[in-house]
């Protein structure tokens, strides 16, 4: 399977190295307790073959899934978070960022890359939930902006994979304005008549849902992903009752009219490529 191939030298970043899966590691599905080797799990695109549970994965995995031969070129890879507010709660924001960088080997909660998908050029931005809960700060906004810019310049579609707990509180007003920023930049894509595919994965909540994630020409979700504006705990507190089964899951959001379709991870690439082909020939 192409998406699992090692990356060709020189074309991508070193963060792919750690994705080498050591032999003998096991994965136990948290939903059905099915056990398989981590390698098998990766071959299944991190989806449980027994119960279809879509494990949360990061930008590297999605790039491997979407780009032909897993080859891509990262855009604005070195942007890191500033600390304009000199924010501190129980910890300094700068230390939180540093700790998260060390833990994840990522620079922030989103990466943008360009490459080929079924032979067509695309730009993909993908969020990493492992980096401070996939929260949206200035780096996330700026990397999306750069991705859109690159797509416009290269006259190609833009795809954004969301996976976020929402705003990055430690960037306060700056974080809030990333909703405005990304929405503003998306108008440039739409002006250029280029497709924007939004892929919502588990979980997509808060300011991300209330900006670029809901603005796709197509909104596509993975199965059973949590998608909402307010988090389920907050909604539960508001109504003072238990939430109905399946509330804010992809299937619920589709039913209420905010998604075009739910696509299992294994079909993600082919479905998106097919849709883009139709849009191109329209």
């Amino acid at each position: 399977m192409g998406w699992f191939k090692r990356i060709k030298e020189g074309i991508t970043t070193k963060s792919t190295e750690k994705k080498e899966i050591p032999e003998g590691m096991w994965y136990k599905c948290p939903k059905c307790s099915h056990v398989l080797t981590s390698q098998e799990h990766a071959l299944e695109m991190w989806v449980c073959p027994s119960c279809d549970h879509h494990e949360r994965v990061g930008s590297e995995e999605y790039f491997q899934i979407l780009f032909d031969d897993g080859k891509y070129r990262e855009i604005a890879a070195n942007l890191t978070s500033g600390d304009p507010l000199e924010f501190a709660d129980t910890k300094k924001y700068t230390s939180r960022v540093k700790a998260s960088m060390a833990k994840t080997d990522l620079k922030d909660a989103l990466r943008t890359a360009s490459g080929m998908m079924e032979g067509e050029k695309v730009v993909v931005s993908c969020m990493d939930f492992s980096f401070i809960g996939g929260s949206m700060g200035s780096v996330v906004g700026e990397k999306i902006a750069r991705g859109i810019e690159h797509a416009v310049k290269n006259n190609c579609p833009f795809i954004c994979i969301s996976k976020s707990g929402g705003a990055r509180m430690m960037e306060a007003g700056f974080s809030l304005m990333q909703m405005a920023k990304t929405s503003a930049r998306l108008t440039q894509l739409s002006e250029a008549g280029l497709p924007y595919i939004s892929i919502l994965t588990d979980p997509t909540t808060g300011g991300v849902t209330a900006s670029f994630a809901m603005l796709g020409d197509l909104n596509i979700a993975e199965p059973k992903a949590l998608i909402g504006f307010a988090g389920p705990r907050v909604v539960k507190e508001t109504i003072g009752k238990d939430l109905p089964e399946g509330f804010q899951r992809s299937e619920f959001v589709l039913e209420h009219g905010f998604l075009d379709m739910i696509v299992p991870r294994a079909e993600l690439k082919s479905k998106v490529a097919m849709a883009l082909k139709m849009m191109k020939q329209g």
């Binding site: 500033g82 705003a167 405005a180 300011g207 900006s211 809901m214 504006f229 307010a230 009219g257």
Partner: protein, 320 residues
């Protein structure tokens, strides 16, 4: 009967003394004698108010922004238009959201489309207005009115005053996230001038959903941020007790927001806050609106939209 915040206690005491003095003077008919005392007290009230209000902490600002006597959106609209206002209702899809109001009005001979969150003035009305927390239909109503304004070439003025978009079950079913996102996408390219004024609380996406203006202004004693200090405290400090620290950390005051270039200007409030002299506040807001409409109207629509996209499209601080 006026309401006082805890740090306004000294002002309250002085005002009570003044009332008592006046009452006494009236009943005993010895006006000559008390006039000096009255003047003294009035002066003292002024200096005390000035003193208190010039040293407000960010948390105290938040308290002022929520002062129960502060004027709300419909009062501003009513007063700046002198009653020349037609309220419009409904999102044409689900219902009329009482937490989001709007309509056409005239300021002098200038037509304006107004939109804003509305809080209630008493317990019953607060519930009726859902505490200024709009549902998706509120944001869709706001967008409908803004589109109407575009059609008839009317500038849009929004008044922001919300503790957030409503986090309810139906709100989620009807796409709160999509409604706010759509407003951002449409507002950024609306062809008519947009002026946004934060008159109280500017909380999160619920505020931003009507907040993409050519000019975004904050009244002096308001706050605007991604989260309320209370929620920030509960999430980052895991307790409700750190709201003061959270308010400071969030840099949510008008001065901080301006300093960080996340807003375009501050509108001074009367001494003691907007509620202390609402008439003066309304006049100042009217003048500001007219001033900005005039300036913005001088630009071609494409230029205005371009500038708006550039402004919001470049917000953020990163290291490269």
């Amino acid at each position: 009967m006026a309401n006082y915040l805890d740090f306004e206690e000294p002002i309250k005491e002085l005002k009570e003394q003044l009332d008592k003095t006046l009452e006494l003077a009236e009943s005993e008919k010895i006006k000559g004698d008390v006039s000096k005392r009255v003047k003294e007290l009035e002066k003292l009230i002024k200096t005390t108010t000035k003193e208190i209000y010039s040293g407000l902490t960010p948390w105290q600002r938040v308290q002022v922004s929520r002062h129960p006597d502060r004027p709300y959106t419909l009062s501003y609209i009513e007063e700046v238009t002198g009653g020349n206002f037609i309220e419009l209702h409904g999102d044409r899809t689900v219902k009329d959201d009482k937490a989001m109001v709007g309509g056409m009005g005239m300021i002098g001979d200038q037509s304006v489309m107004f939109v804003g969150q509305q809080k209630g003035v008493n317990t019953k009305m607060r519930q009726f207005r859902n505490f200024g927390m709009a549902n998706p239909e509120g944001y869709r109503k706001a967008l409908r009115l803004m589109k109407l304004a575009e059609k008839f070439n009317m500038p849009v003025v929004t008044f922001i005053d919300t503790p957030g978009a409503f986090p309810g079950l139906e709100a989620e079913e009807r796409g709160q996230g999509e409604a706010i996102a759509r407003n951002l996408f449409e507002m950024i390219k609306l062809k008519v001038p947009i002026i946004c004024v934060v008159i109280g609380e500017g909380a999160s996406g619920g505020a931003l959903g009507i907040g993409l203006g050519d000019k975004v202004l904050m009244l002096e004693n308001t706050w605007y941020s991604v989260i309320s200090p209370e929620s920030c405290s509960s999430i980052l400090w895991r307790s409700w007790d750190h709201k003061q620290e959270a308010a400071s950390a969030l840099k949510l005051t008008s001065e901080d927001m301006l300093k960080n270039k996340l807003i375009d200007g501050i509108i001074k409030e009367p001494l003691g806050g907007a509620h202390a002299n609402s008439e003066e506040m309304f006049n100042t807001v009217r003048e500001e609106i007219l001033k900005h409409i005039e300036k913005l109207s001088a630009l071609a629509p494409e230029k205005r939209v371009d500038q708006r996209i550039k402004k919001f499209g470049s917000m953020g601080v990163v290291n490269s």
